[in-house]
Symmetry: C2
Subunit: 376 residues, 2 copies
């Protein structure tokens, strides 16, 4: 069984579940660190395993397709072997990067024509080719090819785009059914709900996606600039339609607050570059609140980064030291901050699950959102 609910929260729609892939079993809610080009930037694979205890990471199809390219990944025996990661991997469809990174692109019914942001070379992605690419990359969970609409987005554009995404889903499902995994383990397709911030479109899309009968479902096109309240409204609406017995993945979200609020609405899986990207800019997420480690106030603070976290960093490093490193653009500053942020995000998910199981999630969430979102 791919997904099993172990506990439904009383006060909210939160769920404590378990997902099983051929690379392991892990608990939900879960946050998936983003390993864009086959590396969670600044963090060793062993640190992801042993410090953050991340059971699943995300790879970006667009980046991996361009570099190192499918030929290398296939020769390596798939992405897991290429990057030395024995646990689960999810790959996105490449759609989001095509829209956001590639300057020149043309979308039509057949697919998307785009130019590489690296060397300007021309490429064409179709629902079929993206399924083939993800077969070669070999992630445990693969995403349907969709169009991710920007925010704001005209109603008519959002409707037409969504309908095309639905048609593309049919082609993705067909292609997956026609092809076999390349490396001897199963790959699971997740379809993606679109519809911008329009309730009727989101409802319609959720129905279509639910009907596809996949083992898990995703919500895309949110956290693209809309107010958090709109995101929550869409998330709640879509969760009311998507089947309860399958995991729900909210793509590209978000802050610790966004995660906890969406867990309460019934979301089980998240990914976001925020903890890694912000780490490299000196923003630390901790159990006690958010730290801009560049601030002068930390220059002689010789306490550990986050005493609320049982993490080896605390045996070595202080805020003053990390401030010094980040201030001097030393790589070790980004390395430490990344371990902190990813470890905190994973801790937050484990803690949320404990609270769901204990029946204390709602109160804990109210308190924790205030605590971990305050600026220290």
């Amino acid at each position: 069984m791919f997904y099993k609910i172990e506990h439904n929260d009383i006060g909210t729609s939160a769920r404590a579940g378990v997902i099983t892939t051929d690379h392991g079993t892990f608990e939900t809610p879960i946050f998936m660190p983003v390993g864009t080009a086959g590396t969670v930037k600044a963090m060793h694979q062993r640190e992801l395993e042993q410090e953050a205890d991340a059971p699943i990471i995300l790879g970006n199809t667009y980046h991996l397709y361009l570099r190192p390219g499918l030929n290398i990944i296939e020769q390596a025996g798939g992405l897991h072997k290429f990057i030395g990661w024995k646990r689960s991997i999810l790959t996105d469809s490449g759609g989001f990067q095509v829209y956001s990174l590639s300057g020149i692109r043309k979308i039509n019914e057949e697919g998307v024509k785009f130019k590489s942001h690296i060397d300007g070379s021309a490429h064409f992605f179709t629902p079929e080719s993206v399924m083939d690419i993800q077969r070669t990359i070999g992630a445990d969970i693969v995403m349907a090819f969709d169009e991710c609409t920007p925010y704001p987005c005209e109603y008519e554009y959002a409707r037409k785009s969504m309908e095309m995404t639905h048609r593309w889903l049919g082609r993705c499902v067909t292609r997956m059914a026609e092809t076999e995994p390349k490396y001897g383990y199963q790959q699971h397709l997740f379809p993606i709900v679109q519809g911008s911030v329009y309730k009727d479109l989101r409802l319609k899309s959720a129905e279509v996606i639910a009907e596809a009968g996949c083992v898990g479902n995703a919500i895309g096109g949110l956290s693209v600039g809309e107010p958090a309240e709109e995101m929550y409204a869409m998330s709640e609406l879509v969760c009311s339609v998507l089947p309860k017995d399958k995991p729900r993945y909210l793509m590209g979200v978000g802050t610790p607050e966004n995660l906890l609020e969406n867990i309460a609405l019934g979301i089980d899986m998240f990914d976001c570059v925020m903890p890694t990207r912000n780490a490299r800019n000196g923003m630390l997420f901790t159990t006690q609140g958010i730290i801009n480690i560049r601030n002068k106030k930390w220059e002689n603070d010789f306490t550990p980064l986050d005493q609320g976290l049982d993490i080896y960093l605390n045996d070595y490093y202080t805020k003053a030291y990390v401030r010094h490193l980040v201030h001097n653009n030393e790589m070790l500053g980004a390395q430490i901050a990344t371990i902190q942020n990813i470890s905190f995000y994973l801790w937050l998910m484990r803690e949320a699950r404990k609270q769901i199981v204990a029946g204390t999630f709602r109160e804990w969430k109210e308190r924790m959102v205030k605590q971990c979102m305050q600026r220290l």
Copy 2:
């Protein structure tokens, strides 16, 4: 006892020794990774301990004095505590950086006036102030303030500079005798032999430095552009004068070949940015030879970086993966390459010591120089 020789090689002047500081006992010959601003770039302290097993690292007085500054380091309780390093530390005198990094400088008998390469602020280093600075930083081994002459260097300039370095040494020794360690553990001063590539100057300098009666002695002003043969000639000459019962530290050297040749001449301690700096450019030092991991030939080589090294990296990463990372300027590429290079340099020192003790150093060195210096 600070230094003890455990074995003298039969076929060369190599020695297997032991150095003891208040932060531990370690074996020589030893290579000290360079932790310029309180960080061995791209490498965690725990990795230095557990992967490379480095018993001592080097800090740069010039950099630490400018950032984070003495006030912060003193508040932290010294550099060890500031950076989370429980083993030994050596700091240089800042002289070399003043000459190489600081654009505007003025050297006279009193000291050196220079401008910070960071913000252009004016500073003045004297033998006394540099001793005081190193008292505050709190390294286990501190270096005398010297002038490091460039290569080539006129005889007369080299002679006058050397004589001033000798007078400065007297002032350093006096200042150290007048002051106490700030953090409750001992600090040992090493004087520095200068004299450019002139035999008579080097001999004279070695005699003066030997007479100072410090617990260890250093050779500076080499590896600044002169041919390797000149370096070896100076090293051999100086080692013939410096006392046998004290460790000899050749500053800023070098390639694996340079290290092994100088060990054969009687050198015990080394430091160099090469393994860390070159790692960040994709050059890997391995037991089998030197790898430029950017080369296309590695793109589908799925073997570990260095099968001759018992290192955890081999359980995770391949040449093809590291090539991909370095090619994409991913930080993890520099991180992996740094662990590899520093681990290899430390391995080379441990291996050299084993061979000295076994009486097989000479033959092993001839073979190993060829092996580890070949381009793969």
